[in-house]
Subunit: 109 residues, 2 copies
DNA sequence: CCCGCTATTCAGTGTTGCTATGTACCGGTG
DNA sequence: CACCGGTACATAGCAACACTGAATAGCGGG
């Protein structure tokens, strides 16, 4: 999509990745591919990796190195307890925003 | 709200302001007050003014200086044709994002 | 042997919202 | 009159985040 999407992704992309990880552990390449598949056509590789590093440093995920028979080893991330909590907070913030935007779209005051 | 909101606002705040202006012309101080009233408790004054300057420079709004009997003159902004178009695009991008997030929240794959 | 796919990393850039501060106009109070 | 609070706008500096582009590296096939 356009540049509007780029700016709108700030903050939400992190939540999206955490939500994905809350369903099952995953690694960067896999997540990027899945997002592209879902229509986030222009999400750059580097973006996801940088994001994963950030959430790891914040202690929201646990990491495990797993060998792959198709290339270099994968860094598999899984959401830990603190990450779950953070994700909950994310959904609260998202709901707040989405609610107000939906109200605005309908022309309500 | 927390810092999550700060990042999530990036990109959406612009759309929010444009949506407000699509209902009726308004000036910065008024918009800030309204947003605070709607629960965006920590939106800074300066943020809105900077945003208004940006969208003016991009030609999305028209400006008119209107004297006030309670203080300095107001800069009243109104959405023009180009702004309307940009707002439409914003809603499309927003729908795209909201749809996918809602799907993720429901744990759907 | 090189190419393509898998997989990760990183330096540099632009946009955005926040912080903090400054300017300025007005009316009311002491 | 001096001061203060509410109204109204502007701006310089900062932090966070996603994108660009490139580099590194392992693996298998032509």
């Amino acid at each position: 999509m356009g540049k509007q999407a780029t700016e709108m992704l700030k903050g939400t992309l992190e939540g999206i990745v955490l939500a994905i990880l809350s369903e099952r552990p995953a690694y960067g390449y896999e997540i990027t591919a899945w997002l592209r598949d879902q229509g986030f056509s222009d999400i750059a590789e580097g973006t996801i990796y940088a994001l994963l590093v950030r959430i790891e440093q914040r202690g929201l995920v646990d990491v495990q190195k797993v060998p792959s028979d198709k290339g270099p080893p994968r860094k598999v991330y899984s959401l830990n307890a603190q990450g779950q909590e953070y994700l909950q907070e994310f959904w609260r913030t998202w709901s707040f925003l989405a609610e107000r935007l939906e109200r605005l779209r309908k022309g309500g005051r």
